[in-house]
Symmetry: C2
Subunit: 316 residues, 2 copies
């Protein structure tokens, strides 16, 4: 019997999301659990195995039906050797995830950066279908991106390309977690909105319903914005304008056919795309703006897991 | 007899620079004249022909020895059809330069964007030799760039990629000639330095030897800087810092093996590279900075002409 099934694992700092699919992206099973990164290397490895085992059981398959397992993980990592180098949000330090999983299941395993697998998934099965040059941007806690150039993932010389969250768009702007000032991520991410909100509520002259919370996360900001709070809405609009500036830079540099936006921020919906497109139109050459679609991710929360399975499909 | 010679024409708004070379980049003759763009389409075409004829005569060759002519021109252009679309600094409007030159000389002609041919020249014969992913940045009146990605020129979906001069690096910064605010070109080009100088000399409280000139160009700024004028030096340093920010963004996005800097600004020498590298080190991830050489163009003023001849060599 031919092995025609693929497992994709999106290994995040908060959640592990897995899918099992056939070669046409028909999904037979899905399974998501918390990573529990603080419990350490062995515990997280066990949770990855739990995801793999459950995916196989739920789809009534056998490990022998699986041709390859793909894993998407936050960088830095070495995709060739399979080593996760030193990711802040995971307990793996110089840990060879490919060799480890391969030994357990005795089938091929492939690894890549989480944004790279996501852009691949969107390119083959999602919003990026039919385009040759496209950028996938994910905005949640941070800002990440992946690129398809001439039909292939572009990784750069040390596999760290597309760190667009750390492009400077305001040289004397707020400090970023990376140490630099005025990075896109410090102006247009979940983290940046939370920081700004927690700073603003301390100011006496500012009137906002956010003041009733002790610790403000994006959840409270979005809720109060819906309830009509002006400051919450301004925090969101400011982040979206900066995101628009970042995307206009990406379009100016890559002249892509499409920019796909994914991540938690897409929950904002139309308003996100309205503000981003307005900013891009204002800042980009007409020819670049007119020839680039700015669209939502089709695979949504599963773009990483489907992308990882797509990588497994393509590299096996 | 085999045709083994190539002509490269760098068609600029100010000068037309031509070279005739063999397939190993041995240059047999060079010829440069003013474009005299204001004299119109026919006059400029005649001047291009004068360059081609002189290159052939000076190298004691015959038109039959030339295998192909390459032309690099400022965009926007359609390299496939050979049409120069609507370049502000040239009199050609929707003019088919390939067909025209081909008819006159009866040999193949190829065309590309000026920054694309320059990066190709540096990649094959200049500072970019041996690298697979590299960016060439030229800073003179404006800021332009070209990219080699996985060993090939990257052009984007409508051949307008790498317009890095129009990436926003200060959202509320000075207005750029393109209409946007805070573009790299509005902060780190010959034009931006001249604008800033002409603004500063009007301020009563500012003390600078630039005040003795009626109209200040980069020539006066560099001269007065050499003579120790503090304001002139600050204008230059500020432009170089912004250039460093632009280059750190490019490195963050492309993760290239090398960034090659060309154009008039390289006359500044070591100080340019010191300031740019300092800024890049401050703003880029260590892994990106440590793995990217920031180096001067080897082909210098001839990068465009040699690059155009290289294009002729590669596409014929």
């Amino acid at each position: 019997m031919e092995k025609n099934y693929f497992i994709g694992i999106d290994l995040g700092g908060t959640k592990i999301n897995g899918i099992l699919m056939d070669s046409r992206c028909n999904i037979l099973s899905k399974y998501m659990i918390y990573t529990k990164a603080s419990k350490g290397e062995k515990a997280v490895l066990n949770r990855i195995m739990l995801v793999i085992d459950n995916l196989i059981n739920y789809s009534k398959k056998n490990i022998k039906d699986i041709k390859c397992i793909g894993i998407g993980a936050p960088g830095p990592l070495n995709r060739k050797t399979g080593i996760i180098l030193n990711t802040p949000n995971l307990p793996f330090k110089n840990f060879n995830i490919i060799e480890t999983i391969k030994k357990i299941y005795n089938i091929p395993v492939v690894l890549d950066n989480d944004a790279n697998v996501a852009v691949l998934g969107e390119y083959i099965f999602g919003s990026g279908k039919g385009y040759k040059n496209l950028i996938y941007i994910t905005v949640s806690t941070g800002v990440g991106a992946g690129a398809i150039i001439n039909g292939k993932i572009y990784r750069g010389s040390t596999s760290n390309a597309l760190e667009i969250g750390h492009m400077t768009i305001m040289p004397k702007g707020p400090k970023c977690n990376c140490g630099n000032y005025g990075c896109l991520e410090a102006l247009a991410s979940g983290t940046s909105m939370e920081k700004l909100a927690n700073k603003l509520v301390k100011k006496k002259h500012i009137n906002t319903s956010l003041k009733k919370y002790n610790n403000i996360t994006t959840y409270e900001i979005f809720n109060e914005a819906k309830n009509g709070d002006i400051i919450s809405n301004e925090i969101i609009d400011s982040a979206l304008e900066f995101l628009g500036i970042g995307i206009s830079n990406i379009i100016t540099i890559f002249n892509p056919e499409a920019v796909i936006i994914g991540g938690g921020i897409t929950n904002i919906g139309d308003r996100l795309f309205d503000i981003v497109k307005r900013e891009v139109k204002k800042r980009c050459f007409e020819n670049l703006y007119n020839n680039c679609s700015i669209i939502p991710s089709k695979l949504g929360k599963d773009s990483g897991a489907i992308g990882a399975a797509t990588l497994a499909l393509m590299e096996s």
